[in-house]
């Protein structure tokens, strides 16, 4: 009797957890599946998930882009921006994290407070202040606002993540390196960087995803259609008027999240670790 009860419990558990899982994933499935449907049947068959015939026309049509610029250009732009900004983030954040964690200097506490403040002060509050400032610097219409700040460790999340790792490295290692004549900088390059590789990867992944998805700064600072990143291009592509080809829109939307999906599938371990160990929102 007790055993029967147990297996009933298991079945209920399975149904609830799987059912909720399907509900969670359904919107995405619908988007991907719709991209393979004939464009004019997407909404007449919206209740049906699997297309009756898989076609690839939407991808061919969508790839042509708009305003004479193809999606290949938009993808190249996004890749360039995301990769450069990510390299900057990882380099600067690890160096600053090392300085914060191992340096003993006057004003260190104040800097830590400043870092926490910068974590609580997200981009949207700074939207207008930064715009006015970048305008003064003559940066509007260029990629500088999308890349340059990230070389200065302005995202506290990454500094915090790497500080946690650096503080976990045993003191003996530092002392041994010291005795061998390694300088403060030498320790960073030869000991810290190799040892915190997992944190560098985790940080790199998060940074890449956030930069890839970033829509607001592209909207504010990029005005030339040949320089659009995918996020902004997709938004304009989906606006009524420029395209009512929903099939092509879904096809490009699917492609736009493909890089992130691949990262998610192959590097999930690092994402989960990053979230769980730092306890921060991703």
């Amino acid at each position: 009797m007790k055993k029967k009860n147990q297996s009933l419990k298991q079945v209920i558990y399975l149904v609830v957890v799987s059912g909720l899982g399907i509900l969670m994933i359904y919107p995405l499935l619908w988007m991907v599946m719709s991209s393979f449907k004939e464009s004019n049947t997407i909404f007449t068959t919206a209740g049906q998930l699997i297309p009756s015939k898989f076609i690839f026309d939407n991808y061919v049509n969508g790839w042509k882009g708009f305003a004479k610029v193809g999606f290949d250009t938009f993808f190249k732009n996004s890749l360039f921006i995301s990769v450069t900004a990510t390299v900057g983030t990882v380099l600067s954040s690890s160096l600053v994290a090392y300085g914060f964690a191992r340096g003993r200097f006057w004003g260190r506490k104040a800097l830590l407070v400043a870092m926490l403040l910068s974590m609580m002060l997200p981009a949207q509050v700074l939207m207008i202040p930064q715009y006015l400032w970048y305008q003064k610097l003559g940066w509007v219409g260029t990629y500088y606002p999308l890349i340059a700040p990230y070389f200065f460790a302005i995202q506290g999340f990454f500094v915090y993540l790497m500080m946690n790792f650096i503080e976990g490295i045993p003191n003996e290692l530092y002392e041994a390196a010291r005795i061998d004549g390694c300088s403060f900088y030498g320790i960073y390059a030869r000991i810290i960087l190799p040892l915190i590789t997992p944190a560098l990867i985790t940080g790199g992944i998060f940074s890449f995803i956030w930069r890839w998805d970033d829509f607001l700064s592209a909207l504010l600072y990029v005005n030339d259609s040949s320089k659009y990143p995918v996020s902004l291009a997709l938004k304009l592509f989906s606006d009524p008027g420029s395209s009512s080809d929903y099939g092509a829109m879904f096809a490009m939307a699917t492609l736009s999240i493909l890089p992130i999906m691949l990262i998610f599938i192959f590097l999930q371990k690092y994402l989960v670790e990053g979230i769980s160990t730092s306890g921060l929102k991703g």
């Binding site: 160096l95 300085g99 340096g103 921060l280």
Partner: protein, 302 residues
């Protein structure tokens, strides 16, 4: 000459100086990309300024107008509060329930975890915003599925002032995955011996949850609550793409209104003032949350 360079070199290699050198990127970045822009905008918030013409000092006129001459301001604050106070608790409750379901590992747990976490990873993208807009369109998925059950299928979810905001709230709640992971990590840190002791004492699972699990999770809940409430107040992309504040400003988020004032109506000075008021509101809420901390957050050891 060679001596001074050697002296500088030597200084740079002193430990306390080297620490500062390593921290320099942040010091420069913090000043250049946060403090200076904030100060510039503080100045402009006291000016009549529209980007095209030079700013004219008008004192506190912008601030007076925000509080006395702009009904839309109150409307957007209300909408934003409604959004944050509906979506953040719902999201945390979902995250906690699912985390409790997944804390017992089975073979399928990694797959479930991935499925629940995926929306958080891609939720901020333009692709998902566009998708959401089409799902809740009159001819979208929701109405089609409702139609399968024989229900009314012509309702315009995004066109009705009562439901449009909920489309955005559901989108926010859908992304509960990262909070779920944080809860999972903290749940695994609760020592099993506590539950064993409670079992010996004959406590039910329900009372174990209320007396062990929940109190020990309160620090995690608190941290999530603070971070996500702040983020809830700053949602932009999804609102900007899905509803643009329509219908009748019923979904007009504060940040989107700020954007409109600055980049569509060119009242840049006014928008700068709005940004400062926003900062003040966020500061007040954070302060309020911290003030309530000692009443409900457990901070003792184990």
């Amino acid at each position: 000459m060679g001596n001074t360079i050697a002296a500088i070199r030597k200084k740079l290699y002193q430990d306390n100086i080297a620490g500062v050198v390593c921290s320099l990127p942040f010091i420069i970045g913090f000043l250049l990309f946060m403090i200076v822009p904030m100060l510039v905008s503080l100045y402009y918030s006291f000016c009549d300024y529209n980007i095209l013409a030079p700013p004219v000092w008008v004192g506190i006129k912008n601030y007076v107008k925000i509080f006395t001459g702009d009904p839309t301001f109150y409307k957007t604050v209300l909408v934003t509060f409604y959004f944050a106070f509906a979506s953040v608790p719902l999201r945390l409750i979902f995250a906690l329930i699912v985390a409790l379901l997944l804390v017992k590992s089975t073979k399928l747990t990694p797959m479930y975890r991935a499925v629940y976490y995926l929306p958080s990873i891609i939720g901020g993208s333009v692709a998902v915003a566009i998708l959401w807009k089409r799902m809740f369109a009159t001819d979208g998925v929701l109405n089609n599925v409702l139609g399968l059950f024989g229900l009314n299928r012509d309702f315009s979810w995004l066109g009705d002032t009562r439901t449009a905001i909920w489309v955005l709230i559901i989108l926010a709640v859908w992304q509960f995955g990262s909070s779920m992971l944080i809860f999972l990590a903290s749940l695994k840190q609760i020592p099993a011996s506590l539950y064993e002791a409670a079992d010996v004492d004959g406590a039910s699972k329900w009372s174990q949850f209320w007396n062990i699990t929940l109190p020990l999770l309160t620090p995690t809940i608190f941290f999530n609550l603070v971070m996500q409430t702040i983020n809830g107040f700053l949602a932009f992309t999804q609102c900007y793409i899905i509803t643009q504040g329509k219908p009748m400003d019923s979904t007009l988020f504060y940040t989107v209104y700020m954007y409109q004032q600055s980049f569509e109506f060119y009242n840049t000075g006014y928008a700068a003032a709005l940004a400062w008021v926003m900062l003040l509101i966020i500061g007040l809420i954070t302060w309020f949350l911290f003030a309530t901390k000692r009443f409900w957050v457990y901070d003792g050891g184990l």
